[in-house]
Symmetry: C2
DNA sequence: GCAAGATAATTTACGCCCGAATTAAAGGGG
DNA sequence: CCCCTTTAATTCGGGCGTAAATTATCTTGC
């Protein structure tokens, strides 16, 4: 049993230092200490190791008005790279990033997880990426893989993924054996949430929610500074919040889940059923129809925004986060959801959490892959020392 | 900013050891280590200090089948006492407990928080309790005070309490100055949750929710082993989960909050409005009417159970706790709510969280006061050493 | 009776973080 | 010019927790 804090974080402090330097380079040790709420002594120790490892460099001392000059620290962005891969039910998306999480190379391939040799296909695909990185002499820390489903991140085992149809898959072990490189596996939303914690909205914020709305609806949480996954690793099922008294049956078997009203899949389905778009229409088509002012389409989206706002208000009241970020393919439809969404929020948020900032973020196809790379970057020195420069 | 764990827990480990001995005495160091998932070395260190302080005693070595005999440890229950006080908007309830959280003395007085000298009245009242404990030569660790509202537990300041009408009240500091005894202040639900974590449902469970339904509805969370209070200390507003599309206006100003349908106050109000009970009826009267089979009354309660079940299902889906405990004065009406509550839960819980155990607990008037005493017991050695035996 | 094995508890060395004291490196005033 | 102030960074000792080795104390088999 976990008794309070202490056993949770592994290398989080080191990771936080790297991440803060990735965001604004040139910070001095003292500034890092202040922002991370750690003692200068700790930062001295950590940065010494990072300097030794060549991940960080000192700049020219910067003389301020008075007192001893501070020494700005900078990441050495190409001193380490990470390969991040998102495995989805129709394609595999990947990025190669530098230590500062900037993407140097991206790829996307169709993928069929139902094939019996799906994992071998995936392995081959990743191996070729590793080899091409090796040819360019890019030191690689490892591979991060983000999958939909319930994952044990410690072992890198995929316990169950409805979307991929995989169960009890020791993915990290299999990949590690095949690739000879450290492999980390995590849930897709968790990966994005962790990356957001390090490089994005969570950088200055210890309590935030990340709502991801695409074909499904997921929610990642950072609470008291740490990602929260629930007792059995299954927390975050925001999409299955009951929101309608007697709504349609959801894929989970229950009725009236938020996901039946707001996910891109359900919106498309309902738009087709209502004849708003044709039977083979895409999300883009739905957007176009709404942009043209189709009333039925706009009503559908307004309604969705309202339900989302109401459900989110309840969750924000419950958890009292400092910030909420909404991402996902839904962002394409956002112009038509935003008004009713924010009205519903305003109508249902408690006064004491009204200050919660709620941002929507444009979607990018490689966001989850970047998150997967973030898993690797978050563990830069956890593996034995040689892995840092070992390349392949 | 809090970066992951590490900065959170103060003396939690020591507290956990005391609590586990309070629950089942006679555990050996090795057993404690296993249950707490700490190393035997740690337990050796901690128990040495507790033995030195006289809070714990060794029993007769207990020879098992093979190997070195284990030494059972026992709390010395009367080696320390705590005074726990619940301040509510109509009365003050208090208990004096031993180190093992058993109550040795209780009291309850009417109280009017709106009086300008309310804090002085409270101080006088507590002082007399401290004195009577001193007369009985009971060593007192300190006073814990549980109040409704948003509290900064570190400073013991009550930031805002709608129910008491107090704002920005440095309660702990004032009481400490007046009483000369360590004083700890926390939110009422937080106090009960923390006590539950130590002595109750949370003892073997690192992720649980505690739902308290009385005049209002509150929710306490223990996530990853630690109490969670939200970014601004305002998390847990389960009562203001939007649950009805266009429900009545709630005390928070919004519409359709759960609290307008399920709290004892709202149930009584609606029962009166519907003529189910008389205009001056009590909760007991409502219970009696329902027990006699009054259909309108039963319908009202069924409906409340259903709404509660649906709202709770959403929260459980979101947080994925291992256990949920429902407490509060509502327990009186539980026989009439239970069926619809559990049906609604079953209809809306995701398969992956169906195993979550959901218990309802009979209410006791001094539960929150006991929780307040728990705040003190959770800090037994945090204060300088002499406070342990100092008495008054 | 005595070695072998099992379990309990403790000791030791270490990692991580902190607070406090110390050292380093400027600028400014008499 | 020297000393004081200011800010940055480091060192040092200590607390908390761990893992591994060690010590303690029992049972069992020969």
């Amino acid at each position: 049993m976990r008794w309070g804090a202490g056993s949770v974080s592994g290398d989080m402090t080191r990771t936080a230092v790297l991440a803060i330097l990735a965001r604004h380079g040139g910070l001095s040790r003292a500034e890092i200490a202040e922002q991370l709420e750690l003692s200068p002594a700790t930062i001295t120790t950590i940065t010494r190791r990072l300097l030794d490892a060549g991940l960080v460099e000192e700049g020219e001392p910067r003389t301020s008005h008075t007192g001893r000059p501070s020494i700005p620290l900078e990441l050495v962005p190409d001193s380490a790279h990470a390969l991040g891969v998102q495995v989805a039910h129709e394609h595999v998306t990947g990025v190669l990033t530098q230590l500062d999480a900037t993407v140097v190379h991206g790829f996307r391939h169709p993928f069929d997880p139902s094939r019996p040799d799906a994992v071998d296909v995936l392995t081959t695909l990743i191996r070729s990426e590793i080899e091409s990185a090796a040819e360019r002499r890019l030191p690689l820390l490892g591979v991060g893989i983000a999958v939909p489903g319930v994952v044990e991140p410690e072992t890198g085992t995929l316990r169950m993924s409805v979307r991929l149809g995989w169960t009890g898959m020791p993915l990290a072990a299999r990949m590690r054996a095949a690739l000879g490189v450290p492999v980390f596996v995590d849930n897709d939303i968790s990966a994005v949430t962790a990356a957001e914690r390090l490089y994005g909205a969570g950088a200055d914020c210890a309590d935030f929610l990340l709502v991801a709305i695409g074909e499904g609806i997921g929610l990642g949480m950072v609470l008291d500074g740490a990602p929260y996954r629930g007792a059995a690793g299954a927390a975050g099922e925001f999409g299955h919040m009951p929101i309608l008294q007697d709504g349609p049956v959801c894929s989970c078997g229950n009725r009236g889940c938020l996901e039946t009203q707001v996910s891109t899949e359900s919106l498309l389905r309902r738009a087709r059923e209502l004849g708003i778009v044709g039977p083979a229409a895409s999300l883009e088509d739905l957007r176009a129809v709404a942009a043209e002012g189709d009333q039925a389409g706009l009503d559908l989206l307004h309604r969705a925004g309202e339900l989302l706002g109401r459900a989110l208000a309840g969750s924000v009241n419950l958890l009292g986060p400092e910030r909420v970020v909404v991402i996902g393919e839904i962002s394409m439809l956002w112009p038509f959801l935003a008004a009713s969404f924010h009205r519903a929020l305003a109508d249902h948020l408690l006064p004491c959490v009204r200050e919660t900032s709620i941002d929507t973020r444009p979607w990018a196809d490689d966001l989850i892959a970047i998150g997967a790379a973030g898993i690797v970057l978050a563990t830069p020195l956890a593996a034995p020392r040689q892995s840092i420069r070992s390349g392949v």
